[in-house]
C-alpha cells in the first residue's frame, strides 16, 4: 500500500473544497452547464442518461480494506447500493445526486480517495498490473513508478487542458497485464543488454473509432529521466495535438499524422531542453516514494500445506476454483486470488455494498488488508496464505464471487452500455449476461480454455472490443441495436487488433453467433490445448465467417 501523508491529504481536501464551490456556483446558476462541464469532468463527474455518474480513481488498482469499506458506504449512502469496477482501475457510481456529490467526495477523501482526473481532457488515472508487487515475473514494483508519475501529473498547471484525455500505463514484467499498447503513453520497465533498468516509452495507442497500438518512440529511457520525458511528450501533445475535431484530438492521431519518427524527434528536441533540469529524478526522491509503499510481513509458510492438498482432493468444486482463480505468488506459501465479478447473469464488474464490505473483512483476515482491481473488472486478494485457501473459498462462494471462470469465455469485459451511458448506441450488459447463461457449465468453459470476450456499446470502445479474442461492438442501424463481431484481438505483450468477421448482427442473434464461433473453434482446433486465439491466428477468420454467415 502507498500511505498518504499530510501533504497528500491536504491536497485532496483542498480539491473537495474547490469542487464544493464549483457545485454551489452551478446550483446557483452562476456557472452555466457548459462552464461547469470541464470542471465536473475533472472530478470524475459525468452527466449520464438518468443521473450524474461519479468515477473514483483507484490508483494503480490498489485498495486498502478501509478504502473498500468507504466504497461500500458511498454505494449505500449516495447511490443504489452498488458500484461498477471499470477497465481502468476506477469505480463508478451511476445514481449520484449533484447536490450530494461534494459530501460523497469528502467521505472518499477521508480515506485518501478522489475522482481527480478520472475524466476530462487531462492525464487520467495511472494504471498498472493488478499483480504489481506480488507477481513472480516482475522486475520491480511498477506502482512506485506509477505513483511518481501520478503525483507529477496531478493538477499539473500546464497539462490540465489537453486536446483530449491522456491515459498512461506502467508495466514491469515480461507478461503485459496492463494492456500497455492501448494507452496514450505506456512505460515498460525492463533490463537492457547492459544490465541497466530503464523504460521503453510507447505512444499513441488507443481504441475508439480509430484504433491504434502504441509505437515505441524511446527504446530505453533511464529511470532518472522518466518525469522529464513524460513532460516532453505532454508538452508536444499539448502544443500540437488537434483541437479542431474531437475525434481526431487524441495523441494517436497526432502520432499517426506526423509519423512516429517525426513525433519522436519533436519529443526528443523538447526533452533535451529539460532533461537535466528540476525534473531529473534523484535516488533520494525515488527512495522517499518507495518508502511509503508498505509490504506485508510474510511468514515462512509451506507452499503445499497438507490442509490444501487434502481439501483439493476432497472437493472437486474447490479444486476447480483453485485451478482457475488462484495463481503463484512471488513468496512461497502465498497465492494471488482473483475474485470473479462475472457471475452467471450478472453485470460484469458490479459489486454490491454488502459484497464490498465482506471482501474488506476477508482482506483483513486473509490478505493483509489489501485488495486489487484489475482491468478485466475483477478483484484480487493479493497475499493469501495457501493454508487459508479453503476457508477463504467458502467465504467468497457465500457472497457470490468465487465463480471459477477467470480468463474463460464468461469472464466478459463490458462497458455499461445503453443501460446507463449517454454515448452508447446499444446495450452491452444484457449481451454479457446472456453469454454467461449460455456458457454456465464451468466444465465446458474450462475445456474451451482462455477466451476473452470484450463488449463495447459504442465506438468509444470502453469495453476494449478491439483487443478481445472475440470483440463485440454495438452499433445503431435504423434505430435498432446491431453488433459487429471481430476475432483475434489481444491486449497483452503481443497486442493485436481484432479483424471484423462480417456484417453486424441484430441484438437477438448475438449470443447464438458467439456459440457458433465457439463451436467452430472446437472443431477447428488441432489439439485440446490449442487456445482459441491461436486457432484464429492459424486459420484466419474465414472458417469462422463461413460458420456464422452460412446459416444467416
Amino acid at each position: 500500500m502507498y500511505l498518504y501523508d499530510d501533504l497528500d491529504r491536504t491536497l485532496v481536501a483542498e480539491r473537495v473544497a474547490e469542487f464544493r464551490d464549483q457545485v454551489a456556483r452551478r446550483l446557483s446558476g452562476e456557472l452555466t452547464e457548459d462552464e461547469f462541464k470541464p470542471l465536473r469532468l475533472m472530478n470524475g463527474v459525468y452527466l449520464q442518461l438518468h443521473a450524474y455518474m461519479l468515477r473514483t480513481a483507484i490508483p494503480y488498482g490498489t485498495l486498502s480494506s478501509a478504502q473498500m469499506r468507504m466504497l461500500a458506504h458511498v454505494a449505500r449512502r449516495y447511490d443504489r447500493g452498488y458500484g461498477h469496477f471499470t477497465t481502468r482501475q476506477n469505480i463508478q457510481y451511476h445514481w449520484i445526486k449533484l447536490a450530494e456529490l461534494p459530501d460523497a467526495m469528502a467521505d472518499l477523501a477521508s480515506v485518501g480517495m478522489h475522482g481527480m482526473q478520472t475524466s476530462g481532457n487531462c492525464v487520467r488515472n495511472i494504471t498498472t498490473d493488478q499483480w504489481a508487487g506480488v507477481a513472480p515475473d516482475e522486475i520491480e514494483d511498477p506502482r512506485v513508478w506509477a505513483e511518481i508519475v501520478r503525483q507529477h501529473v496531478t493538477l499539473h498547471p500546464e497539462f490540465s487542458f489537453l486536446p483530449r484525455k491522456f491515459k498512461i500505463a506502467v508495466g514491469a514484467s515480461s507478461h503485459d497485464r496492463a494492456a500497455l499498447r492501448i494507452h496514450d503513453l505506456a512505460l515498460r520497465l525492463y533490463r537492457n543488454g547492459a544490465g541497466e533498468l530503464g523504460f521503453e516509452a510507447m505512444v499513441g495507442g488507443g481504441l475508439g473509432r480509430t484504433p491504434f497500438l502504441a509505437k515505441t518512440i524511446k527504446p530505453f529511457l533511464h529511470k532518472r529521466d522518466i518525469l522529464s520525458y513524460v513532460e516532453a511528450v505532454l508538452r508536444t501533445y499539448n502544443e500540437f495535438g488537434r483541437r479542431d475535431n474531437i475525434y481526431k484530438a487524441r495523441i494517436k492521431i497526432l502520432v499517426h499524422e506526423l509519423g512516429a519518427e517525426a513525433f519522436a524527434k519533436e519529443v526528443e528536441a523538447e526533452w533535451q531542453n529539460i532533461k537535466d533540469g528540476t525534473l531529473a529524478l534523484d535516488p533520494g526522491a525515488f527512495a522517499d516514494i518507495a518508502s511509503r509503499f508498505h509490504y506485508p510481513a510474510y511468514e515462512r509458510l509451506d507452499d503445499s500445506p497438507r490442509e490444501l492438498t487434502d481439501a483439493r482432493r476432497a472437493d472437486r468444486l474447490f479444486d476447480s476454483w483453485i485451478g482457475n482463480s488462484v495463481i503463484d505468488h512471488k513468496v512461497p506459501g502465498y497465492a494471488i486470488v482473483t475474485l470473479s465479478l462475472k457471475p452467471e447473469g450478472g453485470t460484469p464488474g458490479d459489486a454490491t455494498a454488502e459484497q464490498m464490505d465482506a471482501i474488506a473483512d476477508l482482506a483483513d483476515r486473509y490478505s493483509f488488508g489489501e485488495i486489487r482491481v484489475g482491468h478485466e473488472q475483477n478483484l484480487v486478494l493479493p497475499h493469501v496464505a495457501r493454508r487459508d485457501l479453503l476457508p477463504l473459498w467458502r467465504a467468497l462462494d457465500a457472497i457470490g464471487v468465487a465463480t471459477p471462470n477467470v480468463g474463460l469465455v464468461s469472464d466478459i469485459i463490458s462497458c455499461p452500455g445503453l443501460d446507463y451511458c449517454s454515448l452508447a448506441n446499444a446495450r452491452s450488459i444484457p449481451i454479457a449476461q446472456e453469454i454467461t447463461r449460455r456458457f454456465r457449465d464451468h466444465n465446458l468453459a474450462r475445456e474451451l480454455g482462455r477466451l476473452h470476450v470484450n463488449i463495447s456499446g459504442c465506438i468509444n470502445a470502453c469495453g476494449h472490443h478491439h483487443v478481445g479474442h472475440i470483440g463485440i461492438l454495438g452499433v445503431e442501424k435504423n434505430g435498432e441495436e446491431f453488433y459487429q463481431i471481430s476475432l483475434g484481438g489481444k491486449g497483452d505483450e503481443d497486442a493485436k487488433l481484432g479483424t471484423l468477421l462480417g456484417p453486424a448482427v441484430p441484438y437477438a442473434q448475438v449470443a447464438d453467433v458467439i456459440e457458433d464461433i465457439v463451436a467452430a473453434y472446437v472443431e477447428l482446433r488441432e489439439r485440446p490445448d490449442e487456445l482459441f486465439i491461436d486457432t484464429v491466428k492459424r486459420t484466419g477468420i474465414e472458417p469462422f465467417k463461413e460458420r456464422v454467415y452460412a446459416a444467416r
Binding site: D6, A13, L155, E158, S160, L279
Partner: protein
Amino acid sequence: MPLVKAGRIVDDPYVRALDDAPIPDGVPVIVPGPRFLADASELVARDAPVGVLWPNDRRAAELEPWLGDLALIALVFPKFRDGRAYSQARLLRERYGFRGELRATGEVLRDQFQFLIRAGFDAFEVKKQADARVFTEAAARFSVFYQPSTDGRLPALRHRLRGGGPAVKARETL
C-alpha cells in the same frame, strides 16, 4: 472585462490596435502577433510600451528576438478547455526568459487562476466580475503542489526530502 494584477482589479493602460487600426502615439498598445512581426522594429522603437497578442497556435519561440523589447505578451484562451497557452507561457518564462507582463485573455475563469499563476502569468483579463473579485481567494485554493513549475514553488516531493514534513497547516487527517 476586469483586469487583475497583483491580486487587484486595476485599470488597463493598454489600447488594442487590431489589424489595420491606427496606432496612437505615446500610449501603451497591444497589437496582434502577425502585425507585430511585420513591423516589429518600428513598433519597438515607439516611445510607449508595446505588447503583442499572440495566438495559441504559433510557437512562442517566434517572439524570441523581441522579448527584450516587448512590455507585454497577451496569450489567448479561446475556450476554457483550450490549454495551449499554458505551455506557451511556461516556455516564454522558463526557456526564453521573458520578464515583462504575461497576460491571460479570453475565457478566463476563477478555476484557472492558480494554474495560470503557476504557469507564469501575472495579469488576467477575467471574464466575470464575480471571479475577479475573489481572485486572491481563488488563487490560493491549493497549498500543496506535486510538480515544479514556473512559479518556483517547492513540489511535495522536495518538501518531503527536506525532512521538514508538511509545509502546510495541519488539517484534519485520517
